[in-house]
Symmetry: C2
Amino acid sequence: MNQVRALVFDVFGTVVDWRSGVARAIAPFLVAHGRTDLDAFALADAWRRQYQPAMEEVRSGRRPFTRLDVLHRENLEKVMVAQGINAAAQDLDALNLAWHALDPWPDVLLGLHRLRRRFFLAPLSNGNILLLANMAKRAGIPWDAILGAEPARAYKPQPEAYLNTADILGMRPDEVCLVAAHNGDLRAARKAGLATAFIPRVTEHGTGQTIDLTAEDPWDCVADDFIELARRLGC
Amino acid sequence: MNQVRALVFDVFGTVVDWRSGVARAIAPFLVAHGRTDLDAFALADAWRRQYQPAMEEVRSGRRPFTRLDVLHRENLEKVMVAQGINAAAQDLDALNLAWHALDPWPDVLLGLHRLRRRFFLAPLSNGNILLLANMAKRAGIPWDAILGAEPARAYKPQPEAYLNTADILGMRPDEVCLVAAHNGDLRAARKAGLATAFIPRVTEHGTGQTIDLTAEDPWDCVADDFIELARRLGC
């Protein structure tokens, strides 16, 4: 890790608790549409299940690069139609902004403020610039720049997502470290030459989570949370 | 201005005093190369004179999009060779970073901190993401995201620079206001449909400045500095 000058972060799951935040926004939507028989967490999970297939259309080249706000909006409509909810476009537009207003895990702000003194900090998320910037503005996340799929024009885990981000930073890939709660993301980053740090988020998918509970490979750094990461990196 | 939700800013000249900052970095370089016969401000001006021609190669399509750090580095070499200075590549690399370490005008930080409460704030500069982010990190400029030529993949005053920025922001062009000290930049922004605000910076080019001393068109807002801009926009 000695040569690392920038830390770039996976966001959904690693920095913010997307599942609770999305469910919190879905709950009043269900009340407004008279569907309190449905579970908001189950719908958040259903919405999220459409995430990878939608990006795969772009990764495969079947669709030109399309920012995540657009994919989220299409996916939301599918999920609601499948439940027989025929909501007005403006209500779906509003609910789509749930992804802009997610809360960080409790260790994130203190950890990032400490890390920021020594490192250049940016998200490397599949979220688009506006989504990540609105989230940061609302929660006070101290990014130095908003990077990720949109400026890189590629969705993780494609190598271009990692390599174009290092290029924008004017750094060699090994000067950039990806921090993530997902072993698969870290595997792709390592393959592209980045340094890797794993932080477990064992309730990202709820209390019954079975994946990404521990580091599955010898990552360059493993820490319990962002505060311990800061401590281990001398910040 | 009532519909405006984002303020985007020209940076070189409008937010930061590039001429003093670049001259400040050139001065010790001249000492180190035994050329104290040369004037650091004159060299800063000479370096800046290469700026538009270098971008014009990209705007014309003769060259693919190339970020400003690369153009600045090439231009610096030309300027130094013209003076008979044969500097080491690493010394030119270091001097090129002068553009990452420019100081804001004295009203900027207070004005932006006030404007930030009500508006989404971002640079809309021809500077690249890393340059603008390093500048902001050093000076404490509170941008919500780093926008501009690199994410828009177009150099001002091409319409795509303004329109792609509005698109990234998920806003109509008239919901975005360009703040600039340059009438030409504002003319191009207005043509693209953006709102416009003029702030004079009458010593950008030194005490003998003859251009952009006043607003030349009826811009949507004209203010003496960023603090007055904040006051006029109710922040």
